[in-house]
């Protein structure tokens, strides 16, 4: 009996662990919502959870009584009463679930319409409208102002920002758990969703749709700034020109040119953007979405053999000597638009 009781308590014990504050990492977990959409989702999840817990508790209680009370005793051959059913009871457990579901229908329908936005910039002239393109395995963010950012998307705090979602190669899914739900990026289809961050900060985003061997490594960040800081950042991004960036680390710029990096990685308005734009590479916290930007050795490994760090990605290997690599990394680090004293 005691043993029985112990396993019955295992799920309850796990719930306790969970309630004791194990909600996951701040700015990633959806259990600590940081925006309007996330808060709505959280509240309605709790609503459905309460109803469903009620249902489960009733079933578990009946089950527990049955297990305790209706065991067959040794040698008891008496036949229990054969009942064919009970219409009143059956109607009861049909009607009650229907009523419970009606409670859930209402937010389901209102929420579905509240979250829907059209992927048409003309409809959102007052809002910040950012075009998101998913690539294997990185994110491209095109701003209406005419510049492009990679891997990290900046948004103003306290406003509904509309993201248009597209994909270049296969299906991806744009998800920032702490700020709201996800919508898929589908080749040939333009979707949209809005997110809003209540406070400044860095929110972790992930790709949620299997997109190849490095799907797990397709992380990105949403950086929410106060409106004036955000405007400043937009101006700074617009002002960047490739040649000017060279002044800071000229030797590295030459390595960059010699290896034709610009053929895939645009800086400022120049170059192609088949790979992530490097305009503000030095501002990033991670490179390739998941690797620590301060780790010189890892960054060099990445440039020399990207396949090893991110299987199946499209960047070719580059054979670069140690000295050149040092210069190149110095150059890449110098690509910053935010002031060094920025507090994130």
């Amino acid at each position: 009996m005691l043993k029985n009781l112990l396993w019955r308590l295992t799920p309850a014990a796990l719930v306790l662990v969970f309630l004791s504050g194990c909600l996951g990492e701040e700015n990633l977990t959806a259990l600590d919502p940081k925006g309007e959409a996330a808060q709505w989702i959280y509240d309605n999840m709790i609503l459905s959870l309460v109803i469903m817990t009620l249902v489960s508790v009733i079933v578990f209680a009946i089950f527990f009584i049955i297990v305790v009370k209706f065991r067959r005793k040794e040698g008891d051959d008496e036949l229990p009463k054969q009942v064919h059913g009970n219409t009143a009871m059956e109607i009861t457990w049909t009607v009650i679930p229907v009523l419970l579901l009606i409670i859930l229908f209402i937010p389901t329908v209102t929420g579905t319409f509240e979250f829907h936005v059209d992927a048409d910039p003309a409809e959102h002239e007052d809002a910040v409208y950012i075009n998101v393109t998913g690539h294997q395995y990185w994110w491209q963010f095109d701003y209406e102002e005419g510049f492009t950012a990679g891997q990290e998307v900046y948004i103003p705090v306290g406003e509904r920002v509309v993201f248009e979602l597209n994909a270049e190669d296969v299906i991806h899914s744009f998800w920032v758990p702490a700020l709201g739900g996800k919508i898929d990026n589908i080749p040939g289809v333009s979707n949209a969703l809005w997110l809003q961050a209540e406070e400044p900060g860095v929110y972790l985003g992930k790709c949620a749709e299997l997109c190849g061997p490095s799907h797990a490594l397709m992380d990105f960040k949403v950086i929410a700034l106060e409106r004036d800081e955000y405007d400043q950042w937009v101006d700074d991004m617009l002002a960047v020109e490739a040649e000017e960036t060279a002044a800071n680390a000229e030797a590295g710029y030459e390595v960059f040119q010699e290896n034709a990096c610009i053929n895939c990685h645009a800086i400022g308005g120049e170059g192609m953007a088949t790979g992530p734009t490097l305009t503000n590479f030095g501002d990033r916290q991670k490179f390739a979405g998941v690797y620590d930007i301060d780790d010189d050795e890892e960054l060099a490994n990445w440039i020399r053999n990207p396949e090893e760090l991110k299987q199946g990605n499209n960047m070719p290997p580059h054979d670069i000597s140690d000295d050149d690599m040092e210069d190149l990394i110095a150059y890449l680090r110098s690509l910053q638009v935010r002031p060094a004293d920025a507090d994130y």
Partner: protein
């Protein structure tokens, strides 16, 4: 007993058999092997995820494992294991001597097996398919790997087997019932198998069409799914889920059926609300077809479609709830024997509720924007599939084992197996709900440290070790019981059960019933125990019994289909050793040649003479 026909070698006998009982056992063995294979892959994946940034598997291998794990578990483990019981039990429960088309039944098994083997062959040609079991385009159109060609053709072939078996069950249940076995006296397992077979008929056909499109696009460069050429990638998802959602019910309805057999037997009560159970089954099946787009809430099909599909999905909770409470009140007031079969069947009820309630939560479309493609979904459907289907399969295994193998499984080992499995199951999947909410997408081969995901992933992996240990105990039990298990030869009804299969002698003779029984009630055997002398009344005099001949043609036709599929895949190989068209031609020759032989050669079967049947009856102590 069979001196009236030529003795054959054991292997030849099993290769050519058309006996539904032997085919049931073959499905059971094949399904179990695939189950073990896919289970092992799951353990490898959980080992990879035991800690952050682990490098036990690469992303590519991991993706191949998730794809094969899902595909095998659904198509090659769960389906055949349920078919094993359907094949063995349905004719016995309805008082038939065999299924309607014994040859087609054998053909169904061998085709399923050859499709499964074709899929598995992918490991020898560069690795398994890697686009998830849903094979979403455009990822599944990646030309570098042959894996998906094996997926497309392996499933196509095995799907034919499943389809023809389903048609066979439909005809059997409609046509072959013993006198007095009206539709509303069918045991619930037969009812759910009947509804499931209908679902297969309507769900596997769109799958076959979808796989054909994918094959044309991969192998013959069609452009159905290429937006640049006017195609549409979302169409695949609609086609897939029009099959894929009913597939869940194809698996879970027979599981409900097993539960509805085991619970009354060991509670010593008739099923509570039989009629409601039958209609709930049909309503669930109907709604199952109406809700496929709830897998696509985040695809952007619009708020109107999302609302409609959300509400339709939640509605499924109502008939399912009816079933849950009817099971509970079948046990209520009963005299319950908690042996292993009943432990699994009764614990199914609360476990399935846990999976069901998260299903309703998932159905709230705007909240699903959070859950979709996360570990919350992984937790939900494993509560349905393992907590529902697998528990029911284990219950069915322990319940029908004596009838199938003439000995019981060991009860002590059975209880150990149950305890280990229950602990492991909840440990593995309960915490995954939280992982999803905490930001872990599904189908990721790794996750970064320091994101709050470490502990629950560790717990989840430890859970799989418990489940593995449980399965090892089951295997030990099977071997041990085969050697030392309690024999039930001559004991027709070891559980004091209620339905007709327990009225047959053990071991079951090849003709099942010497005389077709007369059915006088629901739970016919129980009725005879209370109102009669405990044996079924015969509906016919003892006479010659007409039986079908065995045939090797199903094996030949299936080998042909294997080579047909493999030849088409060879078209995609860089340097095939022989011309692919030679292999295709060889396969076509075997398949269509086999079919032609079947069509052109008359096969009237044979008769078991009255004298032999009478002798059997005497030996088994029955007969009137």
């Amino acid at each position: 007993m069979a001196s009236y026909k030529k003795e054959k070698g054991v292997v030849w006998d099993w290769l050519t058999t058309v006996d539904h009982k032997k085919l049931g056992i073959m499905y059971l063995i094949a399904g179990t092997l695939f189950f073990l294979k896919a289970g092992l892959m799951a353990v490898f994946m959980r080992i990879q995820l035991i800690m952050p940034e682990n490098s036990f598997l690469t992303g590519q291998t991991f993706n191949e494992f998730i794809t094969m794990h899902g595909t095998i578990m659904l198509f090659l483990a769960a389906t055949p294991l349920l078919f094993a019981f359907m094949n063995f039990v349905i004719p016995l429960q309805i008082g038939a001597r065999d299924v309607a088309f014994p040859f087609v039944n054998a053909l169904g098994f061998w085709i399923f097996l050859s499709g499964g083997l074709l899929l598995s062959t992918s490991w020898f040609f560069g690795g398994g398919p890697d686009a998830g079991w849903t094979a979403y385009v455009p990822l599944s159109l990646n030309e570098e790997q042959l894996g998906l060609d094996f997926y497309v053709l392996g499933l196509q072939v095995s799907g034919i087997g499943t389809l023809i078996s389903a048609i066979n069950f439909l005809v059997t249940i409609i046509n072959m019932r013993a006198p007095g076995m009206t539709m509303m006296r069918l045991p619930l397992f037969v009812w759910t198998s009947f509804v499931t077979s209908t679902l297969i008929l309507f769900a596997f056909t769109p799958l076959a069409a979808g796989l054909a499109l994918l094959m044309l696009e991969r192998i013959f460069d069609a452009q159905f799914f290429n937006p640049a050429a006017g195609g549409n990638v979302v169409i695949w998802q609609h086609i897939f889920w029009i099959f894929g959602h009913p597939e869940v019910y194809i698996l879970v309805l027979p599981a409900f059926g097993i539960i509805s057999e085991v619970i009354p037997a060991f509670s010593r009560k008739r099923l509570f609300g039989y009629t409601a159970m039958v209609f709930a089954t049909m309503i669930i099946a109907f709604l199952g077809f109406m809700v496929w787009a709830h897998h696509m809430f985040t695809v952007g099909i619009g708020p109107v479609a999302n609302s409609i599909f959300a509400i339709a999905t939640m509605t499924i909770a109502v008939p399912t709830g009816i079933k849950i409470f009817n099971w509970l009140f079948t046990m209520w007031g009963g005299k319950i024997t908690f042996n292993t079969a009943m432990l699994f069947a009764s614990s199914f009820v609360p476990t399935f509720v846990l999976g069901g309630v998260t299903g309703v939560m998932l159905a709230m479309a705007p909240v699903d924007y959070l859950y979709h493609d996360t570990y919350f979904v992984v937790a939900h459907f494993h509560y349905i599939i393992v907590g529902g289907i697998v528990l029911a399969l284990f219950a069915g295994l322990f319940y029908w084992y004596p009838k199938m193998f003439n000995h019981k499984l060991n009860e002590k080992l059975g209880v150990v197996f149950f305890i280990l499995f229950t602990i492991g199951f909840h440990l593995t999947f309960f915490v995954q709900h939280f992982l999803g909410l905490m930001g872990m997408p599904r189908r990721v081969y790794t996750y970064l440290g320091g994101q709050g995901l470490d502990e629950f992933n560790m717990i989840s992996t430890i859970g799989t070790f418990f489940m593995s240990a449980a399965v090892i105990v089951l295997v030990i039990n099977i071997v041990y019981s085969a050697i030392k298990g309690e024999r039930v030869i001559g004991i027709n009804d070891p559980w004091d059960a209620r339905t007709l299969e327990w009225a047959t002698p053990t071991p079951v003779p090849e003709y099942n019933f010497a005389q077709t029984p007369q059915i006088r009630s629901l739970d016919p055997l129980f009725y005879e125990k209370v109102h009669g002398d405990g044996t079924m009344k015969p509906a016919e005099p003892v006479d010659d019994i007409h039986m079908p001949n065995g045939s090797i043609l199903p094996v030949i036709i299936s080998i042909g289909l294997y080579f047909l599929g493999f030849g088409l895949i060879m078209l995609e190989m860089a340097e095939p050793i022989v011309s692919p068209w030679i292999v295709v031609a060889l396969g076509g020759l075997l398949t269509f040649g086999g079919m032609a032989m079947r069509s052109l050669k008359d096969d009237h079967g044979y008769h078991i003479p009255k004298s032999v049947v009478k002798a059997d009856l005497k030996k088994l102590g029955g007969g009137k």
